[in-house]
Protein backbone atom coordinates (compact mmCIF):
# COMPACT_ATOMS: atom_id res chain seq x y z
CA UNK A 1 0.00 0.00 0.00
CA UNK A 2 2.52 2.59 1.16
CA UNK A 3 4.81 1.16 -1.52
CA UNK A 4 2.34 2.34 -4.13
CA UNK A 5 1.33 5.49 -2.37
CA UNK A 6 4.79 6.86 -1.84
CA UNK A 7 5.71 7.61 -5.46
CA UNK A 8 2.37 9.31 -5.92
CA UNK A 9 2.91 11.49 -2.87
CA UNK A 10 6.44 12.32 -3.95
CA UNK A 11 5.23 13.21 -7.43
CA UNK A 12 2.52 15.41 -6.01
CA UNK A 13 4.97 17.03 -3.61
CA UNK A 14 7.41 17.82 -6.38
CA UNK A 15 4.66 19.19 -8.57
CA UNK A 16 3.56 21.43 -5.76
CA UNK A 17 7.12 22.58 -5.17
CA UNK A 18 7.45 23.32 -8.85
CA UNK A 19 4.24 25.30 -8.85
CA UNK A 20 5.42 27.20 -5.79
CA UNK A 21 8.69 28.08 -7.49
CA UNK A 22 6.74 29.35 -10.45
CA UNK A 23 4.55 31.43 -8.18
CA UNK A 24 7.22 32.85 -5.92
CA UNK A 25 9.91 33.59 -8.49
CA UNK A 26 7.28 34.70 -10.93
CA UNK A 27 9.22 32.90 -13.65
CA UNK A 28 7.68 33.58 -17.05
CA UNK A 29 6.08 30.68 -18.86
CA UNK A 30 8.77 30.52 -21.54
CA UNK A 31 11.48 29.94 -18.96
CA UNK A 32 9.73 27.77 -16.42
CA UNK A 33 6.20 26.74 -17.36
CA UNK A 34 3.83 25.68 -14.63
CA UNK A 35 3.24 21.96 -14.07
CA UNK A 36 -0.34 22.08 -15.21
CA UNK A 37 0.36 23.37 -18.70
CA UNK A 38 3.24 20.89 -19.02
CA UNK A 39 1.04 17.99 -18.04
CA UNK A 40 -1.61 19.15 -20.47
CA UNK A 41 0.99 19.20 -23.24
CA UNK A 42 2.26 15.83 -22.10
CA UNK A 43 -1.14 14.25 -22.50
CA UNK A 44 -1.83 16.03 -25.75
CA UNK A 45 1.49 15.08 -27.34
CA UNK A 46 1.78 11.65 -25.79
CA UNK A 47 2.16 9.64 -29.01
CA UNK A 48 4.95 11.92 -30.23
CA UNK A 49 6.68 11.83 -26.87
CA UNK A 50 6.42 8.07 -26.57
CA UNK A 51 7.87 7.53 -30.02
CA UNK A 52 10.94 9.58 -29.18
CA UNK A 53 11.15 8.15 -25.67
CA UNK A 54 11.35 4.66 -27.13
CA UNK A 55 14.46 5.57 -29.08
CA UNK A 56 16.11 7.20 -26.10
CA UNK A 57 15.24 4.31 -23.85
CA UNK A 58 16.83 1.86 -26.26
CA UNK A 59 19.99 3.97 -26.37
CA UNK A 60 20.11 4.20 -22.60
CA UNK A 61 19.67 0.50 -22.07
CA UNK A 62 22.21 -0.60 -24.64
CA UNK A 63 24.64 2.06 -23.44
CA UNK A 64 24.16 0.96 -19.87
CA UNK A 65 24.75 -2.65 -20.75
CA UNK A 66 27.88 -1.91 -22.74
CA UNK A 67 29.22 0.56 -20.20
CA UNK A 68 28.71 -1.81 -17.31
CA UNK A 69 30.20 -4.78 -19.09
CA UNK A 70 33.19 -2.78 -20.29
CA UNK A 71 33.63 -1.19 -16.89
CA UNK A 72 33.55 -4.53 -15.18
CA UNK A 73 36.05 -6.02 -17.60
CA UNK A 74 38.34 -3.02 -17.20
CA UNK A 75 38.18 -3.17 -13.44
CA UNK A 76 38.94 -6.87 -13.49
CA UNK A 77 41.86 -6.37 -15.85
CA UNK A 78 43.22 -3.55 -13.77
CA UNK A 79 42.98 -5.75 -10.71
CA UNK A 80 44.53 -8.73 -12.44
CA UNK A 81 47.60 -7.04 -13.80
CA UNK A 82 48.70 -4.96 -10.88
CA UNK A 83 51.20 -3.00 -12.93
CA UNK A 84 48.61 -2.11 -15.51
CA UNK A 85 46.85 0.13 -13.07
CA UNK A 86 49.61 2.69 -12.77
CA UNK A 87 49.78 2.95 -16.53
CA UNK A 88 46.15 2.75 -17.43
CA UNK A 89 44.52 4.75 -14.66
CA UNK A 90 45.74 8.12 -15.98
CA UNK A 91 44.45 7.16 -19.40
CA UNK A 92 41.06 6.28 -17.99
CA UNK A 93 40.89 9.52 -16.07
CA UNK A 94 41.76 11.48 -19.18
CA UNK A 95 39.13 9.61 -21.12
CA UNK A 96 36.61 10.60 -18.48
CA UNK A 97 37.69 14.21 -18.30
CA UNK A 98 37.42 14.90 -22.00
CA UNK A 99 33.90 16.16 -22.43
CA UNK A 100 32.05 13.82 -24.72
CA UNK A 101 30.91 16.86 -26.62
CA UNK A 102 34.42 17.46 -27.78
CA UNK A 103 34.69 13.91 -29.00
CA UNK A 104 31.31 14.10 -30.63
CA UNK A 105 32.46 15.20 -34.06
CA UNK A 106 35.04 12.41 -34.10
CA UNK A 107 32.48 9.87 -32.94
CA UNK A 108 29.97 11.11 -35.49
CA UNK A 109 32.55 10.80 -38.20
CA UNK A 110 33.20 7.18 -37.33
CA UNK A 111 29.79 6.04 -36.24
CA UNK A 112 27.51 8.31 -38.22
CA UNK A 113 24.45 10.12 -36.99
CA UNK A 114 22.55 6.98 -36.20
CA UNK A 115 21.98 5.24 -32.93
CA UNK A 116 25.52 3.91 -32.65
CA UNK A 117 27.05 7.25 -31.79
CA UNK A 118 24.50 7.90 -29.04
CA UNK A 119 25.08 4.49 -27.56
CA UNK A 120 28.79 5.23 -27.66
CA UNK A 121 28.18 8.44 -25.73
CA UNK A 122 26.07 6.76 -23.07
CA UNK A 123 28.66 4.01 -22.81
CA UNK A 124 31.49 6.50 -22.44
CA UNK A 125 29.69 8.35 -19.68
CA UNK A 126 28.82 5.21 -17.76
CA UNK A 127 32.11 3.50 -18.24
CA UNK A 128 34.23 5.39 -15.78
CA UNK A 129 32.04 5.42 -12.68
CA UNK A 130 31.54 1.68 -13.01
CA UNK A 131 35.22 1.01 -13.56
CA UNK A 132 36.30 3.25 -10.71
CA UNK A 133 33.80 1.90 -8.21
CA UNK A 134 34.38 -1.69 -9.10
CA UNK A 135 38.13 -1.31 -9.08
CA UNK A 136 38.03 0.37 -5.70
CA UNK A 137 35.98 -2.53 -4.43
CA UNK A 138 38.35 -5.08 -5.91
CA UNK A 139 41.38 -3.54 -4.36
CA UNK A 140 39.91 -3.36 -0.90
CA UNK A 141 39.34 -7.09 -0.53
CA UNK A 142 40.22 -8.15 3.02
CA UNK A 143 43.77 -9.50 2.93
CA UNK A 144 42.90 -12.50 5.04
CA UNK A 145 40.44 -13.83 2.46
CA UNK A 146 43.14 -13.69 -0.18
CA UNK A 147 45.64 -15.45 2.04
CA UNK A 148 43.10 -18.16 2.68
CA UNK A 149 42.41 -18.48 -1.02
CA UNK A 150 46.10 -18.89 -1.71
CA UNK A 151 46.50 -21.69 0.77
CA UNK A 152 43.45 -23.28 -0.81
CA UNK A 153 45.30 -23.40 -4.10
CA UNK A 154 43.46 -20.65 -5.94
CA UNK A 155 45.39 -19.20 -8.85
CA UNK A 156 45.27 -15.50 -9.53
CA UNK A 157 42.32 -15.75 -11.84
CA UNK A 158 40.25 -17.75 -9.38
CA UNK A 159 41.16 -15.38 -6.57
CA UNK A 160 39.93 -12.54 -8.71
CA UNK A 161 36.68 -14.16 -9.74
CA UNK A 162 35.78 -16.03 -6.60
CA UNK A 163 37.14 -13.85 -3.83
CA UNK A 164 37.78 -10.33 -5.02
CA UNK A 165 34.72 -10.10 -7.20
CA UNK A 166 32.14 -11.17 -4.60
CA UNK A 167 33.88 -9.00 -2.02
CA UNK A 168 33.65 -6.08 -4.45
CA UNK A 169 29.97 -6.56 -5.25
CA UNK A 170 28.73 -3.96 -2.77
CA UNK A 171 31.07 -1.39 -4.30
CA UNK A 172 30.04 -2.53 -7.76
CA UNK A 173 26.44 -1.97 -6.71
CA UNK A 174 27.26 1.62 -5.85
CA UNK A 175 28.89 2.05 -9.23
CA UNK A 176 25.84 0.62 -10.94
CA UNK A 177 23.61 3.06 -9.16
CA UNK A 178 25.67 6.03 -10.27
CA UNK A 179 25.81 4.61 -13.78
CA UNK A 180 22.06 4.22 -13.90
CA UNK A 181 21.61 7.80 -12.93
CA UNK A 182 24.01 9.25 -15.50
CA UNK A 183 23.08 6.99 -18.41
CA UNK A 184 20.10 9.14 -19.47
CA UNK A 185 22.35 12.20 -19.65
CA UNK A 186 24.72 10.31 -21.90
CA UNK A 187 22.02 9.42 -24.37
CA UNK A 188 20.46 12.87 -24.37
CA UNK A 189 23.77 14.61 -24.84
CA UNK A 190 24.46 12.27 -27.72
CA UNK A 191 21.18 13.27 -29.28
CA UNK A 192 21.97 16.92 -28.84
CA UNK A 193 25.15 16.57 -30.79
CA UNK A 194 23.44 15.00 -33.72
CA UNK A 195 20.31 13.02 -34.38
CA UNK A 196 16.85 13.18 -35.75
CA UNK A 197 14.96 11.23 -33.12
CA UNK A 198 14.91 10.79 -29.37
CA UNK A 199 13.91 12.88 -26.41
CA UNK A 200 17.10 14.94 -26.57
CA UNK A 201 16.36 15.90 -30.13
CA UNK A 202 12.79 16.70 -29.24
CA UNK A 203 13.90 18.92 -26.39
CA UNK A 204 16.36 20.79 -28.54
CA UNK A 205 13.77 21.32 -31.21
CA UNK A 206 11.05 22.37 -28.81
CA UNK A 207 13.44 24.73 -27.13
CA UNK A 208 14.33 26.38 -30.40
CA UNK A 209 10.66 26.77 -31.27
CA UNK A 210 9.84 28.24 -27.88
CA UNK A 211 7.58 25.27 -27.16
CA UNK A 212 8.85 25.22 -23.62
CA UNK A 213 5.86 23.17 -22.49
CA UNK A 214 6.81 20.40 -24.84
CA UNK A 215 10.42 20.58 -23.75
CA UNK A 216 9.47 20.18 -20.12
CA UNK A 217 7.09 17.37 -20.99
CA UNK A 218 10.00 15.57 -22.64
CA UNK A 219 12.08 16.32 -19.56
CA UNK A 220 9.37 14.81 -17.40
CA UNK A 221 9.40 11.61 -19.39
CA UNK A 222 13.18 11.53 -19.21
CA UNK A 223 13.05 11.92 -15.45
CA UNK A 224 10.53 9.13 -15.27
CA UNK A 225 12.78 6.84 -17.28
CA UNK A 226 15.73 7.78 -15.10
CA UNK A 227 13.93 7.12 -11.85
CA UNK A 228 12.51 3.80 -12.99
CA UNK A 229 15.92 2.77 -14.20
CA UNK A 230 17.54 3.77 -10.95
CA UNK A 231 15.18 1.82 -8.78
CA UNK A 232 15.35 -1.18 -11.04
CA UNK A 233 19.12 -1.15 -10.80
CA UNK A 234 18.93 -0.54 -7.08
CA UNK A 235 16.83 -3.66 -6.77
CA UNK A 236 19.30 -5.65 -8.82
CA UNK A 237 22.23 -4.26 -6.88
CA UNK A 238 20.59 -5.35 -3.64
CA UNK A 239 19.97 -8.81 -5.01
CA UNK A 240 23.66 -8.99 -5.83
CA UNK A 241 24.62 -8.77 -2.18
CA UNK A 242 22.03 -10.66 -0.18
CA UNK A 243 24.50 -11.18 2.65
CA UNK A 244 25.01 -7.48 3.12
CA UNK A 245 22.62 -6.03 5.62
CA UNK A 246 21.37 -2.54 5.07
CA UNK A 247 21.96 -1.14 8.52
CA UNK A 248 19.68 1.77 7.87
CA UNK A 249 16.54 -0.25 7.39
CA UNK A 250 17.17 -2.49 10.36
CA UNK A 251 16.39 -1.12 13.81
CA UNK A 252 20.11 -0.92 14.58
CA UNK A 253 19.94 2.79 14.05
CA UNK A 254 19.35 3.20 17.69
CA UNK A 255 15.73 2.66 18.43
CA UNK A 256 15.53 2.98 22.16
CA UNK A 257 13.98 0.01 23.87
CA UNK A 258 11.38 0.37 26.53
CA UNK A 259 10.22 -2.74 28.18
Amino acid sequence: MSQLLRPVIIALGLTLLWQCIVWTTDAPRYILPGPLSVIATLIEQLPLLLRHAGVTLAEILIGLLLGVVLGLISALSLATWGGLKRWLMPVLVISQAIPVFALAPVLMLWLGYGMASKIAMATLIIYFPVTAACFDGLRQTPTAYLKLARTLGADKRTQLLQIRLPAALPAFGSGLRVAASVAPIGAVVGEWVGSSTGLGYLMLNANARMQVDLMFAALLILALIAVSLYFLIDLIARRLVPWQSDTLNSPTTGRSRSR
Binding site: A27, P28, R29, Y30, I31, A104, P105, M108, L109, G112, Y113, W192, V193, G194, S195, S196, Y201, L204, N205, N207, A208, R209, M210, Q211, V212
Partner: protein
Protein backbone atom coordinates in the same frame (compact mmCIF):
# COMPACT_ATOMS: atom_id res chain seq x y z
CA UNK B 1 26.02 57.25 -18.31
CA UNK B 2 23.04 54.94 -18.85
CA UNK B 3 23.83 51.30 -18.71
CA UNK B 4 22.75 48.82 -21.39
CA UNK B 5 23.40 45.12 -21.05
CA UNK B 6 23.38 43.54 -24.48
CA UNK B 7 23.24 39.77 -24.99
CA UNK B 8 24.73 38.72 -28.30
CA UNK B 9 23.36 35.70 -30.12
CA UNK B 10 26.64 33.78 -30.25
CA UNK B 11 30.33 34.35 -29.82
CA UNK B 12 31.58 37.59 -31.32
CA UNK B 13 31.99 37.36 -35.08
CA UNK B 14 31.96 39.81 -38.01
CA UNK B 15 28.15 39.86 -37.96
CA UNK B 16 28.50 41.93 -34.81
CA UNK B 17 30.79 44.41 -36.57
CA UNK B 18 28.77 47.62 -36.04
CA UNK B 19 28.28 46.85 -32.35
CA UNK B 20 31.95 46.18 -31.72
CA UNK B 21 33.10 49.15 -33.73
CA UNK B 22 30.64 51.41 -31.95
CA UNK B 23 32.00 50.17 -28.68
CA UNK B 24 35.66 50.48 -29.67
CA UNK B 25 35.29 53.85 -31.33
CA UNK B 26 33.40 55.22 -28.36
CA UNK B 27 30.16 55.91 -30.27
CA UNK B 28 28.11 54.45 -27.45
CA UNK B 29 29.93 56.63 -24.95
CA UNK B 30 29.21 59.64 -27.15
CA UNK B 31 25.54 58.84 -26.72
CA UNK B 32 25.92 58.63 -22.99
CA UNK B 33 25.64 54.84 -22.94
CA UNK B 34 27.72 52.30 -21.13
CA UNK B 35 27.20 49.08 -23.06
CA UNK B 36 28.31 45.66 -21.77
CA UNK B 37 28.17 42.67 -24.08
CA UNK B 38 27.74 39.02 -23.12
CA UNK B 39 28.47 36.14 -25.49
CA UNK B 40 26.22 33.13 -24.91
CA UNK B 41 26.54 29.75 -26.57
CA UNK B 42 22.84 29.12 -27.03
CA UNK B 43 21.17 31.63 -29.37
CA UNK B 44 17.70 30.84 -28.03
CA UNK B 45 18.50 32.09 -24.54
CA UNK B 46 19.07 35.87 -24.96
CA UNK B 47 15.52 36.76 -26.13
CA UNK B 48 14.10 34.79 -23.23
CA UNK B 49 16.27 36.58 -20.74
CA UNK B 50 15.32 39.95 -22.17
CA UNK B 51 11.67 38.95 -22.08
CA UNK B 52 12.14 37.95 -18.46
CA UNK B 53 13.68 41.33 -17.71
CA UNK B 54 17.11 39.91 -16.86
CA UNK B 55 18.91 41.87 -19.57
CA UNK B 56 18.17 45.04 -21.51
CA UNK B 57 18.72 44.05 -25.07
CA UNK B 58 19.42 40.98 -27.16
CA UNK B 59 20.36 40.02 -30.66
CA UNK B 60 17.65 37.97 -32.27
CA UNK B 61 16.71 36.52 -35.66
CA UNK B 62 13.60 37.74 -37.41
CA UNK B 63 12.00 34.31 -37.98
CA UNK B 64 12.52 33.48 -34.34
CA UNK B 65 11.02 36.81 -33.31
CA UNK B 66 7.76 35.86 -35.04
CA UNK B 67 7.68 32.58 -33.18
CA UNK B 68 8.53 34.25 -29.87
CA UNK B 69 5.79 36.83 -30.30
CA UNK B 70 3.44 34.01 -31.15
CA UNK B 71 4.38 32.31 -27.87
CA UNK B 72 3.68 35.52 -26.02
CA UNK B 73 7.15 36.78 -25.20
CA UNK B 74 7.01 40.53 -24.55
CA UNK B 75 9.64 41.56 -27.09
CA UNK B 76 9.95 44.51 -29.41
CA UNK B 77 12.33 44.82 -32.33
CA UNK B 78 14.19 48.14 -32.19
CA UNK B 79 16.80 47.72 -34.85
CA UNK B 80 18.35 45.64 -37.60
CA UNK B 81 21.96 44.60 -37.78
CA UNK B 82 21.97 42.52 -40.95
CA UNK B 83 19.13 43.33 -43.29
CA UNK B 84 19.20 40.33 -45.62
CA UNK B 85 19.04 36.63 -44.96
CA UNK B 86 22.45 35.05 -44.34
CA UNK B 87 21.01 31.59 -44.10
CA UNK B 88 21.59 29.37 -47.08
CA UNK B 89 21.56 25.79 -48.22
CA UNK B 90 25.16 24.75 -48.78
CA UNK B 91 26.48 21.78 -50.73
CA UNK B 92 29.97 20.83 -51.82
CA UNK B 93 30.98 22.66 -54.98
CA UNK B 94 32.30 19.50 -56.62
CA UNK B 95 29.64 17.31 -55.06
CA UNK B 96 26.77 15.53 -56.79
CA UNK B 97 24.15 18.12 -55.85
CA UNK B 98 24.02 20.72 -58.59
CA UNK B 99 20.52 21.98 -58.01
CA UNK B 100 18.00 21.74 -55.24
CA UNK B 101 16.11 19.16 -57.21
CA UNK B 102 19.13 16.86 -56.88
CA UNK B 103 18.47 16.63 -53.13
CA UNK B 104 15.83 13.98 -53.67
CA UNK B 105 16.62 11.03 -51.42
CA UNK B 106 19.59 12.73 -49.77
CA UNK B 107 20.50 13.77 -46.26
CA UNK B 108 20.31 17.37 -45.17
CA UNK B 109 22.02 18.42 -41.97
CA UNK B 110 20.91 21.32 -39.84
CA UNK B 111 21.65 23.02 -36.60
CA UNK B 112 18.41 23.25 -34.71
CA UNK B 113 16.92 26.72 -34.91
CA UNK B 114 13.30 25.72 -35.12
CA UNK B 115 12.93 27.26 -38.53
CA UNK B 116 14.85 25.10 -40.96
CA UNK B 117 12.06 22.79 -42.03
CA UNK B 118 9.99 25.81 -43.03
CA UNK B 119 12.86 27.11 -45.11
CA UNK B 120 13.45 23.74 -46.67
CA UNK B 121 9.79 23.21 -47.24
CA UNK B 122 9.52 26.44 -49.21
CA UNK B 123 12.71 25.79 -51.15
CA UNK B 124 11.84 22.22 -52.02
CA UNK B 125 8.31 23.15 -53.01
CA UNK B 126 9.63 25.59 -55.56
CA UNK B 127 11.71 22.76 -57.03
CA UNK B 128 8.93 20.20 -57.04
CA UNK B 129 10.00 18.24 -53.95
CA UNK B 130 8.57 17.80 -50.48
CA UNK B 131 10.14 17.26 -47.08
CA UNK B 132 9.40 13.55 -47.44
CA UNK B 133 11.91 13.35 -50.28
CA UNK B 134 14.86 14.15 -48.02
CA UNK B 135 16.17 13.03 -44.66
CA UNK B 136 16.80 15.72 -42.06
CA UNK B 137 19.63 15.18 -39.58
CA UNK B 138 20.43 17.45 -36.67
CA UNK B 139 24.19 17.95 -36.72
CA UNK B 140 24.17 20.79 -34.23
CA UNK B 141 27.60 22.37 -34.03
CA UNK B 142 29.29 20.69 -36.94
CA UNK B 143 27.62 22.02 -40.07
CA UNK B 144 30.73 22.24 -42.24
CA UNK B 145 32.55 19.18 -40.88
CA UNK B 146 29.56 16.94 -41.44
CA UNK B 147 29.21 18.25 -44.98
CA UNK B 148 32.90 18.00 -45.82
CA UNK B 149 33.20 14.52 -44.36
CA UNK B 150 30.23 13.35 -46.39
CA UNK B 151 27.97 12.52 -43.46
CA UNK B 152 25.33 14.70 -45.07
CA UNK B 153 24.89 15.92 -48.63
CA UNK B 154 23.75 19.42 -47.80
CA UNK B 155 23.33 21.65 -44.80
CA UNK B 156 20.73 24.27 -44.12
CA UNK B 157 21.41 27.01 -41.60
CA UNK B 158 24.89 27.75 -42.92
CA UNK B 159 25.68 31.45 -43.11
CA UNK B 160 26.85 32.47 -46.54
CA UNK B 161 29.42 34.88 -45.14
CA UNK B 162 30.82 32.36 -42.71
CA UNK B 163 30.51 28.68 -43.54
CA UNK B 164 31.40 29.23 -47.22
CA UNK B 165 34.66 30.86 -46.24
CA UNK B 166 35.30 28.21 -43.65
CA UNK B 167 34.94 25.46 -46.23
CA UNK B 168 37.05 27.34 -48.69
CA UNK B 169 39.88 27.63 -46.18
CA UNK B 170 39.68 23.90 -45.57
CA UNK B 171 40.03 23.28 -49.28
CA UNK B 172 36.52 22.03 -49.84
CA UNK B 173 34.73 24.97 -51.40
CA UNK B 174 30.98 24.98 -51.18
CA UNK B 175 28.08 26.19 -53.23
CA UNK B 176 25.26 28.12 -51.61
CA UNK B 177 21.61 28.25 -52.61
CA UNK B 178 20.26 31.50 -51.25
CA UNK B 179 16.95 31.08 -49.50
CA UNK B 180 15.45 34.34 -50.72
CA UNK B 181 16.08 33.25 -54.31
CA UNK B 182 14.37 29.92 -53.75
CA UNK B 183 10.92 30.91 -52.65
CA UNK B 184 11.40 32.32 -49.16
CA UNK B 185 10.43 35.95 -48.63
CA UNK B 186 13.32 38.20 -47.70
CA UNK B 187 13.82 38.89 -44.01
CA UNK B 188 16.29 40.50 -41.59
CA UNK B 189 18.78 37.93 -40.37
CA UNK B 190 20.00 39.76 -37.27
CA UNK B 191 17.86 42.17 -35.33
CA UNK B 192 17.97 43.82 -31.93
CA UNK B 193 15.11 43.36 -29.47
CA UNK B 194 14.18 44.84 -26.12
CA UNK B 195 11.53 44.10 -23.56
CA UNK B 196 8.12 45.50 -24.50
CA UNK B 197 7.93 47.45 -21.26
CA UNK B 198 11.01 49.44 -22.36
CA UNK B 199 9.30 50.60 -25.50
CA UNK B 200 9.94 54.31 -25.95
CA UNK B 201 12.96 54.33 -23.64
CA UNK B 202 15.30 56.78 -25.32
CA UNK B 203 18.40 54.74 -24.47
CA UNK B 204 17.60 52.57 -27.46
CA UNK B 205 17.19 55.38 -29.91
CA UNK B 206 20.59 56.64 -28.81
CA UNK B 207 21.91 53.11 -29.08
CA UNK B 208 20.72 52.81 -32.65
CA UNK B 209 22.24 56.18 -33.51
CA UNK B 210 25.62 54.87 -32.36
CA UNK B 211 25.17 51.70 -34.38
CA UNK B 212 24.26 53.69 -37.47
CA UNK B 213 27.37 55.82 -37.07
CA UNK B 214 29.50 52.70 -36.71
CA UNK B 215 27.96 51.17 -39.81
CA UNK B 216 28.80 54.26 -41.82
CA UNK B 217 32.33 54.15 -40.55
CA UNK B 218 32.64 50.51 -41.55
CA UNK B 219 31.35 51.15 -45.04
CA UNK B 220 33.58 54.15 -45.49
CA UNK B 221 36.73 52.73 -43.94
CA UNK B 222 36.60 48.95 -44.18
CA UNK B 223 40.26 48.47 -43.27
CA UNK B 224 40.27 50.80 -40.31
CA UNK B 225 36.99 49.27 -39.16
CA UNK B 226 38.53 45.82 -39.33
CA UNK B 227 41.40 46.98 -37.14
CA UNK B 228 38.96 48.44 -34.70
CA UNK B 229 36.93 45.22 -34.70
CA UNK B 230 39.85 42.92 -33.91
CA UNK B 231 41.15 45.27 -31.26
CA UNK B 232 38.25 44.10 -29.12
CA UNK B 233 39.85 40.68 -28.56
CA UNK B 234 43.06 40.64 -30.62
CA UNK B 235 44.19 37.13 -29.79
CA UNK B 236 40.86 35.56 -30.67
CA UNK B 237 39.38 37.64 -33.47
CA UNK B 238 42.38 38.27 -35.69
CA UNK B 239 42.39 35.27 -37.99
CA UNK B 240 41.98 34.37 -41.61
CA UNK B 241 38.39 33.24 -41.34
CA UNK B 242 37.20 36.43 -39.69
CA UNK B 243 39.09 38.53 -42.19
CA UNK B 244 37.36 36.89 -45.11
CA UNK B 245 33.99 36.83 -43.39
CA UNK B 246 34.42 40.53 -42.63
CA UNK B 247 34.78 41.32 -46.28
CA UNK B 248 31.66 39.33 -47.14
CA UNK B 249 29.62 40.86 -44.35
CA UNK B 250 30.44 44.52 -45.07
CA UNK B 251 27.79 44.77 -47.75
CA UNK B 252 25.08 43.21 -45.63
CA UNK B 253 25.04 45.54 -42.63
CA UNK B 254 21.83 47.55 -42.47
CA UNK B 255 22.72 51.11 -43.40
CA UNK B 256 19.69 52.43 -41.57
CA UNK B 257 19.63 50.07 -38.60
CA UNK B 258 16.70 51.74 -36.88
CA UNK B 259 14.46 51.84 -39.94
CA UNK B 260 11.57 49.43 -40.04
CA UNK B 261 10.06 48.01 -43.22
CA UNK B 262 6.61 47.23 -41.91
CA UNK B 263 5.39 45.61 -45.07
CA UNK B 264 8.33 43.21 -45.21
CA UNK B 265 7.71 42.15 -41.63
CA UNK B 266 4.02 41.68 -42.41
CA UNK B 267 4.82 39.58 -45.46
CA UNK B 268 7.22 37.37 -43.57
CA UNK B 269 4.81 37.00 -40.68
CA UNK B 270 2.24 35.69 -43.10
CA UNK B 271 4.79 33.27 -44.52
CA UNK B 272 5.47 31.96 -41.04
CA UNK B 273 1.81 31.42 -40.36
CA UNK B 274 1.38 29.76 -43.71
CA UNK B 275 4.20 27.34 -42.85
CA UNK B 276 2.42 26.48 -39.65
CA UNK B 277 5.15 27.91 -37.44
CA UNK B 278 2.90 30.54 -35.92
CA UNK B 279 -0.77 30.55 -35.14
CA UNK B 280 -1.50 34.18 -35.98
CA UNK B 281 -0.04 37.19 -37.70
CA UNK B 282 -0.34 40.15 -35.35
CA UNK B 283 0.04 43.65 -36.64
CA UNK B 284 3.67 44.67 -37.00
CA UNK B 285 3.55 47.66 -34.71
CA UNK B 286 2.81 45.41 -31.77
CA UNK B 287 6.24 43.86 -31.93
CA UNK B 288 8.45 46.16 -33.93
CA UNK B 289 9.24 49.83 -33.71
CA UNK B 290 11.71 52.29 -35.15
CA UNK B 291 12.99 54.15 -32.09
Amino acid sequence: ADKVELLLDWFINPDHGPLIVAQQKGYFAEQGLEVSMVEPADPSMPPKLVAAGKADMAINYQPQLHQQIDEGLPLVRVGTLVATPLNSLVVLKDGPVKSIADLKGRKVGYSVSGFEDALLHAMLEKNGLTLKDIELVNVNWSLSPSLISGQVDAVIGAFRNFELNQMDIEGHPGRAFFVEEEGVPAYDELILVINAKDRGDDRYSRFMKAVEKATQFIVNHPQAAWQSFVSYKPDELDNELNKRAWADTLTRFALRPAALDTERYQRFGEFMQQQGLTKATPSVDTYATAP
